[in-house]
Symmetry: C2
Subunit: 337 residues, 2 copies
């Protein structure tokens, strides 16, 4: 089976730090190659892959801001669309824009919807509802107006995360510094518990960081900026818990799955995909407010780190994700390949 994986071009595939869509496209591509498929990854020229790389642009527009994102996007997408006949299936990880080429090619397109940046983009998905085979990354993230062929959870490269059955005495916040992700709430929880908190992530909202985070930083509450893979692994495997007090309906939480894979339970606000990712009281706690989160931190000793790891490895591995996607491809191709 010849498959084209279309990654976004905001960041390198895989991303150096932040870039969850590129990370999933990378993880999937690696597994599809392992499974013996002929895979071409369409991504930035500095990307890394075991598949064949097809790139018409050098670097992501978020990594070289002198570039015009619109120009990069349309050159990148059209490059694949013009070669569509070389593939049995196209797997789109690039949001809604590629859909608008789909009726001019005969190769079927599978589209993983990594989240809706705004309800204003739904009309494009509605237009191509009958043809572009939508996959949701959690059941909670489905738009009622759309039809889906499957839910496939994001998958991690299990070998990149070290399980640890012991921990140190700090809480971890891992994600973009932004109101959506609840950095300020995490600080409040840690302060109420009298626990150390390590905050890692890119600053997405500078004003939020300056008013809601920076004034709280001290020996107990520390900010270390963006963390690459090695640092992430070390932070996650030694934490008492990951705090994930989100303020939005998160379609999937990569860091939640990653933490559990390392054996670290997660205390999360019960929104979006959280009840699908976390087994309440088994791999963490689904709570509704800061007071409940503080209470949950006191109960963490009752959670088995082994159980966290086993659950995450069974549900959120790249291998499982690839297997699920290969079933989707087969379903679309009707056993032709």
């Amino acid at each position: 089976m010849k498959i084209a994986v279309l990654s976004p071009v905001a960041w390198r595939t895989p991303p150096r730090h932040y870039g969850p869509w590129e990370q999933v496209a990378y993880n999937l591509t690696e597994e599809l190659v392992k499974a013996g498929l002929e895979v071409t990854l369409f991504a930035t020229g500095d990307s890394q892959t075991s598949a064949h790389l097809d790139a018409v642009i050098e670097m992501g527009y978020e990594e070289d801001r002198n570039q015009d994102a619109k120009v990069l996007e349309c050159l990148h997408i059209s490059n694949l669309m013009e070669k569509a006949r070389n593939f049995d299936i196209i797997h789109n990880h690039f949001d809604f824009l590629p859909l608008t080429w789909s009726r001019l090619i005969s190769t079927p397109i599978v589209t993983t919807i990594h989240g809706f940046s705004s309800p204003r983009i739904i009309p494009v998905y509605k237009k191509y509802n009958d043809t572009c085979h939508y996959v949701s990354i959690s059941n909670s993230d489905r738009a009622p107006e759309l039809d889906y062929i499957a839910t496939v959870y994001n998958g991690l490269n299990v070998e990149s995360f070290s399980f640890s059955d012991s921990h140190e005495d700090y809480l971890l916040y891992f994600g973009r510094i932004h109101h959506d992700k609840g950095t300020a709430e995490a600080i409040e929880i840690a302060e109420s518990c009298g626990k150390k908190l390590i905050i890692a992530g890119i600053i997405q909202d500078e004003a939020y960081f300056n008013t809601r985070v920076k004034p709280h930083l001290n020996e107990q509450i520390t900010f270390i900026g963006a963390a690459g893979p090695a640092m992430r692994n070390s932070l996650m495997s030694k934490a008492l818990a990951l705090l994930h007090p989100i303020n939005f309906e998160e379609p999937f939480g990569m860091s939640v799955a990653e933490a559990m894979l390392c054996g670290t339970p997660v205390v999360a606000f019960n929104k979006g995909s959280m009840p699908e990712l976390i087994k309440d009281r088994k791999t963490g706690f689904l709570v509704h407010n800061i007071a409940e989160a503080v209470e949950a931190v006191k109960q963490l000793t009752y959670v088995s780190r082994e159980a966290c790891h086993t659950w995450a490895a069974s549900m959120f591995s790249a291998e499982k994700m690839a297997k699920d996607y290969m079933e989707v491809y087969s379903q679309i191709l009707g056993g032709k390949h």
Copy 2:
């Protein structure tokens, strides 16, 4: 001959006030209908046309800012591309984005390049150089890396502009309020001449307006905001001259052609397309600085308003533009239609 005209969807076609690309698409469409072609105009739903209107979005994204421009653009363009086989030719007035669908359809595309917003968009034009038949709107606006099939000057609806062989004692500035267009320079010229200046246009750069324009407003220097067609006609036909002291290589100056059509000479900085639009000392003056412009204003009595009108009517009418474009279409279709 069945032709699809693709207008932008920033503004209504024709625009209510500002929107030169939509204005040209409108003028051309009206003339092509008059010439007996079967024309479909792809534009916003509130557009007006004698052709068949095909619209999938209601209003321009500049007129209802709650919309997502990227969503509107891709729905609008794909709507045409999916119907490409219904047309003998597609005439693209929508910048570079539609080019990236062109290799997936068999209908030829003529692309009027209304200007390069940035050199960063040229790679898209380069990629499709062999197939998308570029037309420049002045010889001065040609990018050396690209091939062009023709230059076709923008054309005005001659009946919408009243020729006047007399004038009142004011100078006119007509255009976006922006450094590029030289609003501040026009004020300086008028002040030096001791002449009244009427400034009409949308404020594109608020800071520029507040610092460079607003402090000069008084009985002599007046600002009237955006002017619709009736007001524009009345302002232009009674002016002593249009001041056009531009600070950029303007690809075409609609207001320059419009003023001359009304019989009003133009004093312009000699940049971009100005030497193609203005016959120096016959229909206005091509000058290099404010001092020369002040001198030119004193010489205006030697310019014949009749000559201004005759020149503009012969060179910049919608009828001539349509005739020129029909020759381009024939050249591409090789006499097939």
